[in-house]
C-alpha cells in the first residue's frame, strides 16, 4: 500500500521535470526543519555518542594534539575520497561495489608506471582507467539491472587477475619523482585532505543543484517509477559509477604517491572501509537517500574511533570489530528511523 503511494508520488513529481528540482529541494528543507524542532532518539543517541568520544578522548593522552588531529584527517582522506563516490552509487540504488580495492591498485600502478610521461598525463591516464573500468560495471548494472554485488565481486577478481598478469606480480616503481608534489603538506595538512574537502563540496553541489544529481535520488527511490516517467535510468546510473571511478582512481593516485611504489595489496580493505563510511553517514542501502557531507562525517567518525582505539593500545582486530559493530548499529538505527510511521 505504502509502496504504491510513494510510487505514485514520485511518478507525478518526476513527470513535472521542470519543477522537480525545486520541489525536491523544498522537501529536504522541510525535513531539515522538522528534525531541528524535535530532536528524536537518534539525535540524542548521536549527541551521547559524540560526548562519549570526546570524554574518552580527553582521558586519552595525546588525543587532543595537533599531530593526532593531522593523523586523523589524513586517514579520513584516504577513505573519504572513495566514500564520496560510493555515496553516489548507493543513492542511485546500485548498493555497493566490492571491486574498489583492486581498481584503486590498478589506478595506482598505472599512475606510477607512466610517471616518465609527466605528472599531468599520469594523473589523466589513472583517472581514465578508473572511470572506464568502473563505468563499464555501472553500464551492466544500469542498463541490464544486473546484481551489483555479485557483478562487482567478479569484476574485482578480474581486475586483480589482469593486474597480476600484466605486472607479473611484481611491485611497480616509478621512473620519475614528479609525483612527490602530491605528497606535500601545504599549511601542515596533506594535500589529500584539501582534495577531500573540495570533492565533498563539489559532490554536495552536484547532488542538490544539478539535474543528474536530483535524478539520482528519484531513480534510487523507485527505479520502476523513474523508468516509467521517462528518466534516463541507465545513463544516470553510468554517470554515478563514472564519478565513483574517478574518486577511486584519485584515492589510488594518493596511495601511490604516499607509498612511492605499488603492489597487488596496495588497495587493502578500501572496499569495506568506503562502504562502512557511507553507511555510518546514514545513507540507506536501498537508495534514494544520503548526502556527501554526511558521508564525510561518517568517514571522520570512523577515523576518530579507530584512532582512539589505537592510542589506547587496542589491536587492529579490535578496531575492525568496533567498526563493524558501529556500522551495524547505524544501519539498524537509520532503518528504524526511516520506517517509523510507515508501519
Amino acid at each position: 500500500m505504502t509502496t504504491a503511494n510513494s510510487e505514485h508520488r514520485h511518478a507525478t513529481s518526476a513527470a513535472g521535470t521542470g519543477s522537480a528540482r525545486r520541489k525536491a529541494g523544498s522537501a529536504t528543507e522541510a525535513k531539515g526543519r522538522i528534525r531541528w524542532r524535535r530532536p528524536g532518539p537518534l539525535d540524542i543517541g548521536i549527541g551521547i555518542g559524540i560526548l562519549a568520544v570526546v570524554l574518552v578522548g580527553a582521558m586519552t593522552s595525546r588525543f587532543f594534539s595537533l599531530d593526532n588531529a593531522r593523523a586523523i584527517l589524513a586517514s579520513t582522506a584516504a577513505v573519504g575520497i572513495t566514500a564520496i563516490g560510493a555515496t553516489f552509487v548507493m543513492i542511485v540504488g546500485s548498493a555497493v561495489s566490492l571491486a574498489v580495492s583492486q581498481t584503486a591498485t590498478v589506478a595506482a600502478m598505472i599512475f606510477l608506471s607512466t610517471q616518465q610521461l609527466g605528472l599531468g598525463v599520469a594523473i589523466l591516464l589513472a583517472l581514465a582507467c578508473g572511470v572506464a573500468v568502473t563505468a563499464a560495471q555501472g553500464a551492466v548494472i544500469g542498463f541490464w539491472t544486473a546484481n551489483p554485488i555479485v557483478l562487482t565481486i567478479a569484476a574485482g577478481f578480474a581486475i586483480g587477475g589482469v593486474a597480476i598478469w600484466i605486472s607479473g606480480g611484481a611491485t611497480v616503481y616509478p621512473k620519475a619523482t614528479a609525483f612527490r608534489t602530491l605528497d606535500s603538506t601545504p599549511l601542515g595538512l596533506p594535500l589529500a585532505v584539501y582534495v577531500l574537502i573540495g570533492l565533498a563540496l563539489l559532490a554536495q553541489w552536484m547532488l542538490h543543484r544539478t539535474t543528474a544529481g536530483r535524478q539520482l535520488y528519484l531513480i534510487g527511490e523507485n527505479p520502476a517509477a523513474a523508468r516509467a516517467a521517462g528518466l534516463p535510468v541507465g545513463r544516470v546510473t553510468v554517470i554515478a559509477w563514472a564519478f565513483f571511478g574517478a574518486c577511486i582512481a584519485l584515492t589510488g593516485i594518493f596511495l601511490a604517491s604516499f607509498n612511492t611504489s605499488a603492489n597487488a595489496d596496495l588497495g587493502g580493505t578500501l572496499s569495506l572501509d568506503a562502504i562502512a563510511a557511507v553507511l555510518v553517514g546514514g545513507t540507506a542501502i536501498g537508495g534514494g537517500r544520503g548526502s556527501a557531507l554526511r558521508t564525510l562525517g561518517g568517514a571522520l567518525l570512523i577515523s576518530v574511533i579507530s584512532d582512539l582505539l589505537l592510542l589506547r593500545g587496542f589491536s587492529t582486530g579490535v578496531q575492525l570489530l568496533a567498526k563493524g559493530l558501529l556500522v551495524l548499529l547505524v544501519v539498524v538505527t537509520v532503518h528504524l528511523r526511516s520506517t517509523r510511521g510507515r508501519r
Binding site: 541490464w144 544486473a146 565481486i153 567478479a154 553507511l279 556500522v327 544501519v331
Partner: protein, 343 residues
C-alpha cells in the same frame, strides 16, 4: 522431458554445467599428459568439502532472496575458534565453532526478519565485525592446530575416494534435499524468495523461516571453516573474498536465480561439484593463479549478465521490434500486390 528442462532453469543449468565440467575433467589428460587417477577424484572431492558447506548456506539464503555476505566471516571465525578451543578435544572445538556460527546467524536473522532490514548491510557489517573478532582472538596471526590425530582423521581415505570431511558435506546436502523435498519447508523457502508479501498472506511464517535460514547458514559456514582448519592444521584470520566468489559461482551454476525463489539443493550439489572439478582441472593442468581468477570472474560475469532481468527485457524488446517490422513489411508487400492487381 527436454521441454520440461528448458522451462525450468533450476534443473537445466546444473544439468548442463555438471556434465560439461565432467567431460572437461575427463579430457584433462590430453593437456596435462598424465592419466586420471582415483587420487585426482579424491582431491576434487576434498575441494568440494572445502567449499560445499559454505555454498549450501549461501545458496539456501539466495533461494529466499537474501544474501548472506557474513558467511565468509563466520567461516574464518569458525576455523579460528575450532583451532583455539579444540586443542584437547576436536569435538569440543567443532561444537564451540558451530554454536558461535548458529548464534551469529540467529542474531542476523532476527534483525533481517523482525526489523525488516535488507540483509546486505546487516551481513556486511557483521562480516567486518567478524573479521575483526577473528583477528582479535588470534592476534592477527595464523594459528597452528597441534592435535594431529584430528587432522589425520578428517582427511582419512574412505572407500578410495571419500574422506570424513567430504562425507559430512555430502550428508549436509542430502539432508537439505530431503528437508526441502519432502516437507513444506522447500515450498515455503521458494515462496519467501518469490513473493514475500504473498507468502505471508498465504500463511507462511516468514519471520520464523528467515531466522531459521540464517541460523542454518551460519552453522554450515562455521562447520565448514572448522573442518577446513582441522584439515590444514592451521587457521587463517582473513581468508579474503575468495571463498565467497567460489561459493557464488557454485550457487549460480547450481541454477539458483539472483532474483530469488528458484533453486534446488541437488542443483546446488551439482553446482558445487562443478566448481570443485574446475578447481581440480586448474590444479592438474598447472595454470597460473591469475588465470584461475580470470576464469572464475568470467564465469560469474556471464552468469550474472544472463541472469539480469534488464537484459532479457532488452532482448524481448528487440525481438518485438523485429517482429513488428516483419509484419509491417508483410502488410506492405501484400499492399503492393493488391496495388499491382487493381488496374
Amino acid at each position: 522431458m527436454i521441454r520440461g528442462l528448458v522451462s525450468r532453469p533450476e534443473r537445466l543449468v546444473p544439468a548442463v554445467s555438471l556434465p560439461v565440467v565432467v567431460v572437461a575433467f575427463a579430457c584433462t589428460p590430453l593437456i596435462s599428459g598424465e592419466g586420471l587417477t582415483t587420487f585426482d577424484i579424491r582431491n576434487a572431492l576434498q575441494g568440494f568439502a572445502q567449499l560445499g558447506l559454505l555454498a549450501l548456506g549461501l545458496g539456501l539464503t539466495m533461494i529466499a532472496r537474501e544474501f548472506d555476505l557474513s558467511v565468509v566471516g563466520t567461516y574464518a571465525l569458525g576455523g579460528m575458534l575450532a583451532v583455539q578451543t579444540g586443542k584437547s578435544s576436536a569435538i569440543l572445538g567443532v561444537v564451540v565453532a558451530v554454536a558461535a556460527g548458529a548464534a551469529i546467524g540467529a542474531v542476523q536473522g532476527g534483525l533481517v526478519a523482525w526489523l525488516r532490514i535488507p540483509s546486505l548491510p546487516v551481513t556486511l557489517a557483521t562480516y567486518i565485525a567478524l573479521l575483526g573478532l577473528t583477528s582479535a582472538i588470534s592476534g592477527g596471526l595464523s594459528k597452528t592446530y597441534t592435535n594431529s590425530a584430528a587432522t589425520l582423521w578428517v582427511d582419512r581415505t574412505i572407500l578410495v575416494i571419500f574422506s570424513p570431511r567430504s562425507l559430512v558435506t555430502l550428508a549436509a546436502f542430502l539432508i537439505a534435499a530431503l528437508m526441502l523435498g519432502f516437507t513444506k519447508r522447500g515450498r515455503e523457502l521458494r515462496a519467501i524468495g518469490g513473493d514475500r508479501r504473498a507468502s505471508r498472506v498465504a500463511g507462511v511464517r516468514v519471520e520464523r523461516a528467515l531466522i531459521g535460514l540464517f541460523t542454518v547458514s551460519g552453522t554450515l559456514a562455521a562447520l565448514g571453516g572448522a573442518l577446513l582448519s582441522y584439515s590444514y592444521a592451521s587457521a587463517n584470520p582473513n581468508p579474503g573474498l575468495q571463498p565467497l566468489i567460489l561459493g557464488a559461482v557454485a550457487v549460480l551454476l547450481g541454477g539458483v536465480s539472483l532474483a530469488g525463489g528458484r533453486g534446488l539443493p541437488l542443483g546446488l550439489l551439482a553446482g558445487t561439484l562443478s566448481v570443485a572439478l574446475i578447481a581440480q582441472i586448474v590444479a592438474m593442468t598447472a595454470l597460473p593463479d591469475y588465470s584461475t581468477e580470470l576464469l572464475y570472474a568470467a564465469l560469474l560475469v556471464i552468469i550474472v549478465a544472463i541472469d539480469a532481468p534488464g537484459l532479457r527485457q532488452t532482448l524481448d524488446r528487440l525481438k518485438a521490434r523485429r517482429n513488428s517490422k516483419a509484419t509491417s513489411t508483410i502488410t506492405l508487400a501484400s499492399h503492393d500486390q493488391y496495388g499491382a492487381e487493381s488496374p
